[in-house]
Amino acid sequence: MLTYILRRILFMVPVTLAISLVAFIIIQLPPGDFITALTAQMAENNETLDPETLAALRDRYGFDQPMIVQYWKWITGIVFRGDFGQSFEWSRPVADLIWDRLGLTLIVSFATLVFVWVLAFPIGIYSAVRQYSWGDYIATFFGFIGLAVPNFLLALVLMYLSSRYLGASVGGLFSAEYVNADWSWGRVVDLLNHLWVPVIVLGTGGTAALIRIMRANLLDELKKPYVELARARGLSETRLLLKYPVRVALNPFISTLGWILPTLVSGAVVTAIVLSLPTSGPLLLNALFAQDMYLAGGFILLLSILTLIGTLVSDLLLAWLDPRIRYE
């Protein structure tokens, strides 16, 4: 087991480097660079920059050097100095911009994960054990609705409902007075007050999917001889259910750990924009538009690493849960 863990962790290093290289290349793929994007933008506003300034900017950011040299500067800066470079658009170090957003993204992801698990686990079990009961039909009905309704629509509906009936300010993760405040107890409470809307919006689809998966898996497992034998050994229904088939059917829950972050980042941009969440999705999208390459690169790199860690943790949990994986 220990060697397995070590092997997996060591394996992450080259994968991360490969991702960083690919990310860097892809960010550079669109024609032009930040300077051309900037001049285009200024031209729209009937402004121009004189050639000297442009040349100075190019020189400063090293745009004239070969890509591999740029990459090398960038990655060594990160690895050895924790320096993610400078955001062109914001004229601030990328690291300053990223950490706050990343932290909030993680908080939203984690809260969504808990929401999904807490709902999907009991409902999935119930649906399977009481197959074709009223409760199962109701769960199935809402499950399909949850799968079918696009997130942004759900977001709009929730925003409407909560501003209409709860009188709450929706959108964002904080009320106006806390947006730029330092962390305090009040700010945490304020965050929790805002968190439920994005969590419901982001988690509903996943919950519905996981309920379906749990139900199908558990229905399969319930028919297996080891369940019947556990019953024939005299175990009570609840005990045997939780100990045997549920345990075996649990694997997809663990796997959510691995996919929740990438879905939140890539799939949830629209939601995040609708809900004006200060998470990483919208900022990343902006950075890509503006060809703000160090900001975009930094985001992609860190999100990839987090995703890799999520996958690693879920794989380790799976191996811990399921000896068949462990012994392979």
Partner: protein
């Protein structure tokens, strides 16, 4: 001597979307204490469901409609297991302790994600209330008893680390761990290769002699019956068609179905052909049960106007035998 258990007029049907399957339709037999009763019949004749009904754990959408399972160990007043709540305490105290199941698929009968010891200790503690350490010691002792080498180490193994034969031994150890009075062994050797089959049969005989346990041995293989049975119950389409002592059944079968089954076994040796024995004709679909005698479309003694009109009863014959056939008394 009073039997250990008496199955009376058992009827278990499955209410499927396609219609009602009369899996067990009026089965009656007894199992004497310390004896091995074999239930034989082609696939689909209701053997497994009879075994499940005894434990009062018929799978959905099945239901026991009628009948009684009279459990009367050591001359105690009989308890009708079917009258107990299938999820209740009383039947659960009997399952795994007094009556244990050994299933057809040793591959799948053990949890894929728990150790062998975990499942054995769980059962032992549940029924015998031992401490963890004592239960573990007993579990190892049971593994040793069924011929598993290095039993203490094996407790920490998972089922998938063992061969099919070893797994079936573990299942048997699990079944006898709490000192049961009745073992229900549902085709325990079917999934195994011939050599392993012979070893497992030997193990059953040893355990029967050492523990004095009664065995309800379900099989479709008359070669196995010859090796292990004291008594034989022959089933066809959910009904008992013949019951008697093993010698009588083999040497003087009363029912044409029994005779046909015997005729399809070339030699009663351990080296049976791989192919399963076949009888002319096919087992009818459960939704097209023949009129009159259920066996009449395949019977070589079929009499037009009699066998397809009325259904024969289970009649008594000399030597404590029963058979369900109009011609059974006519000699062979």
């Amino acid at each position: 001597m009073a039997p250990l258990i008496e199955v009376a007029d058992l009827r278990t049907h499955f209410f499927t979307d396609e219609g009602v399957v009369k899996a067990v339709d009026g089965v009656a037999f007894t199992i004497p204490a310390g004896k091995t009763v074999c239930v034989v019949g082609e696939s689909g004749s209701g053997k497994s469901i009879t075994g499940r009904s005894i434990l009062n754990m018929v799978p959905y959408p099945g239901r026991v409609l009628d009948g009684a399972i009279r459990w009367q160990p050591d001359g105690a007043p009989p308890v009708d297991l079917l009258a107990l709540d299938p999820k209740g305490r009383e039947i659960r105290a009997i399952r795994g302790k007094d009556i244990a199941l050994i299933s057809q698929e040793p591959m799948a009968a053990l949890s894929p994600v728990h150790t062998i010891g975990n499942q054995m200790i769980e059962t032992i503690r549940l029924h015998l209330g031992l401490t963890k350490a004592d239960a573990r010691a007993r579990a190892a002792e049971m593994l040793a008893k069924v011929g598993i080498p290095r039993p203490k180490d094996r407790l920490d193994s998972y089922a998938f680390e063992l061969s099919g034969g070893m797994r079936q031994r573990v299942c048997i150890a699990l079944a006898v761990a709490c000192g049961p009075k009745l073992l229900i062994a549902d085709e325990p050797t079917t999934a195994l290769d011939v050599t392993t089959q012979a070893n497992i049969l030997d193990l059953f005989r040893e355990l029967r002699d050492a523990l004095g346990v009664s065995i309800l041995f379900i099989t479709h293989d008359l070669g196995v019956v010859a090796e292990i049975a004291d008594e034989v119950v022959v089933m066809y389409l959910g009904q008992v068609v013949e019951q008697g002592r093993v010698d009588d059944i083999f040497h003087r079968p009363l029912h044409p179905y029994t005779r046909a089954l015997l005729g399809s076994v070339p030699r009663l040796t351990r080296h049976r052909p791989e192919r399963l024995p076949t009888i002319s004709g096919m087992v009818p679909s459960p939704f097209e049960r023949p009129s009159g005698c259920l066996f009449h479309p395949r019977c070589d003694r079929f009499e037009q106007g009699l066998c397809d009109r009325s259904a024969p009863e289970l009649d008594r014959y000399a030597n404590d035998r029963v058979a369900r056939c109009f011609k059974a008394g006519a000699g062979s």
